[in-house]
Amino acid sequence: MMDFFSELASNPGITKAMWPAFIETMQMTLVSGLVTVLIGIPLGVLLLTSNKNGLAPLRWLNWLLSAVIVNITRSIPFAILMIALIPFSALVVGTALGPMGASVSLTIGTIPFYARLVETALKEVSSGKIDAAKVMGSTRMQIVRKVYLPEAMPGIIDATTTTIVTLIGYTAMAGVLGGGGLGYLAYNYGYVRYELEIMVVTIVILVALVQLVQFFGDRISTRINHR
């Protein structure tokens, strides 16, 4: 047992490569998580409001968002989407490689998923509350900002937690496909060189990361839920 730990402490894969890999993974998760939330929430709102019984029904927009963008993107396996998006990533951030390159395809891969979750959370807001807001003379923008979003916030936080957890899993795959990070480390040392301990440590870190995100996500969601 002592052997295992002393070996870990002297393994260059851990002492040298682990920390930068961890940083890269965090970079990918945070950058793509942030962009996903920034784009996904408005998209979720549009999905809801452009619906035929929504605040501002717009058939073609709803069809475009729902059928074309969200459903098609969601049905493509992530690994394939990543490869397909390599030229696009190169166009946007100058490279398809490294954490920044991978973040582009990670973001595009998760936005549709997240937007659907946000839409579902918004749908939970009872129509009675929306009627009340309308009767009091709210504009559509006020209904979205002062009623839909605050009332659905616990659900949106849950959706964000789920999405970040999924993203952490995706970063591992993106790592193998050129993004770097813990996924690449595990692949390189654990699979190619078959250094089992690197594999184990990576798994432990990833599991801990997911637990941490889930824990704080749940806490925030409970804290702001007054229902």
């Binding site: 003379g137 006020q142 009332e151």
Partner: protein, 331 residues
């Protein structure tokens, strides 16, 4: 004052047309509480949605103090809506906001200054008896308290009309009476016009000055409470003053009369005066006496002896202001 003229609403269901409102006209004077009752499917909810312009009426107009609310642009519509405060069956409070923030909502919409909002909210909380609950969230309140918050929120814009859609249907009898008392108190204090949509006759008896009966999208009976009850054969009268179930079956062959009398006569010995005048024995089969608003109402089912002259008795009763229906004449 609210004036509704010839309001029609037709829903399209595929190729079918559902006429939910078939020309409703209604006028409620300032400071009066008007009840609208009707069975399920009569069009009550549709009427509410048209009055608040949540649904555009197919035709007809709604006016508050002479200003028409229908046929205005979207922007004007928002202002128009602020003249009608609405109270919902399930309060429909925002769960993410405290009581005070819920009441502040309609004020925030028009950018009311903070200090003004605080003052108004404090005043409204006091008005509905919830001064201590400003910081509570809706989930921490009872159903009756939530409804009070809903009422306070509806009053925040100083509307001319308070429209209540089944305001007590989710509450127990005691809380129902508390909420109705509150609505009456607010009417007295603010001289606001109130419309209560309900399927509970109790609400009408307890709180309303006048009442309309909605049936299949039409108002089939309407009037002040005492007038409606004193109208022979009116179905509002019979539902408002039901005879105790299973009235004993009449014996013998004498004519049976349903009589309703109110106000001053309710205390007068109507029956004994009839008995003395015609020298007959009157058999009371069933009866109900109830206090509604200011007045007391009595409804009796009586049987005259076979030998009595029914027409004479009926005429006499009518002459002293008693509503009479001869059984067999009407329901």
């Amino acid at each position: 004052m609210i004036t509704v003229s010839d309001l029609r609403k037709v829903y399209r269901q595929g190729s079918d047309e559902v006429v939910a409102l078939a020309g409703v006209s209604l006028e409620v004077p300032t400071g009066k509480i008007h009840g609208i009752v009707g069975h399920s499917g009569a069009g009550k909810s549709t009427l509410v949605r048209c009055l608040t312009l949540l649904d555009r009426p197919t035709s007809g107009t709604v006016a508050v103090n002479g200003t028409e609310l229908t046929n205005v642009s979207d922007n004007q519509l928002r202002d128009a809506r602020r003249r009608i405060g609405m109270v919902f069956q399930h309060a429909n409070l925002f769960d993410s906001r405290t009581t005070a923030q819920n009441i502040a909502y309609p004020l925030e919409l028009v950018g009311t200054p903070k200090a003004e909002i605080t003052a108004k909210v404090t005043e409204l909380l006091e008005l509905v008896g919830l001064s201590k609950f400003g910081k509570a969230y809706p989930s921490q309140l009872s159903g009756g308290q939530r409804q009070r918050v809903g009422i306070a929120r509806a009053l925040a814009t100083d509307p001319d009309i308070l429209l209540c859609d089944e305001p007590t249907s989710a509450l127990d009898p005691k809380t129902t009476d508390e909420i109705l008392d509150l609505i009456k108190k607010l009417r007295d204090r603010l001289n606001i016009t109130v419309l209560i949509i309900t399927h509970e006759m109790h609400v009408v008896k307890q709180a309303c000055d006048s009442v309309s009966l909605l049936e299949a999208g039409r108002i089939v009976e309407h009037g002040d409470l005492d007038t409606v009850i004193n109208t022979a054969g009116s179905s509002l009268a019979t539902t408002l003053l039901p005879l105790p179930g299973d009235a004993p079956r009449a014996e013998g062959s004498g004519d049976i009369l349903d009589i309703i009398y109110s106000g001053e006569q309710a205390n007068d010995p109507v029956l004994s005066s009839v008995a003395r005048r015609f020298d007959i024995d009157i058999n009371v089969l069933a009866g109900a006496v109830e206090q509604m608003g200011e007045h007391q109402f009595a409804r009796l089912r009586i049987q005259l002896p076979a030998t009595a002259d029914t027409a004479e008795v009926v005429n006499y009763l009518k002459s002293i202001g008693v509503a009479v229906t001869q059984k067999g004449d009407a329901k």
